[in-house]
Symmetry: C2
């Protein structure tokens, strides 16, 4: 993902921009879990049972580069690294909640459709 690519439409590019930042298979989920507060690397890994270490590192670094996540390294042994949302990351809360709420309703609608 480039820094700020030239977006493809005039009216909707903010939509596009946001989706580029929180899209992909894991980022939205990571941000959502970080809404609950600071988390360590392995704690996040436990929350996303199917993510690989490679992807977790990867996605966290991209979120950090985007200014949404802060990475705090403690020079201890064994190492400890804590991830938290930046101010800008926290400002995503309404977006993430909207995604969650709509998803819940959609899943329920699917379920009641399946029984019909």
């Amino acid at each position: 993902m480039a820094k700020h690519p030239s977006f493809d439409c005039v009216a909707g590019c903010p939509v596009e921009a946001t989706l580029e930042l929180i899209g992909g298979k894991w980022k939205g989920l990571l941000l959502y879990h970080l809404l609950d507060g600071t988390q360590r690397f392995n704690a996040l890994k436990r929350m996303l049972p199917n993510i690989t270490q490679r992807m977790l590192t990867n996605q966290l670094r991209e979120l950090e580069a985007a200014g949404l996540v802060h990475r705090q390294v403690y020079a201890e042994v064994p190492p400890r690294v804590e991830y938290s949302l930046t101010e800008q990351g926290r400002s995503l809360a309404p977006v993430l909640h909207a995604l969650r709420d709509w998803g819940e309703a959609y899943i329920k609608a699917l379920a009641s459709r399946d029984v019909s």
Copy 2:
């Protein structure tokens, strides 16, 4: 994209589900433009100058399969096909607006960062 894949986390899977439906390079944008009302195939194509016909057809079909978009074919010549949001598609409005609003703020924050 499968119908309803088994999601990867308990707490966040509604977030995951929504992102799977509106994610990708074009879907969010298409839905956003359809908020303005019914659009024809080529009208949508003009709104997304860089999309290929293949992708446009593709994404519209997936949105239709998800129950978010309605496809109305008129048996005329030249052919006319109109796309509109279903009730469920319209219910995405708050989500799409949240994405847009946050994106606008983020882009502004980037800009004021660049001049500093």
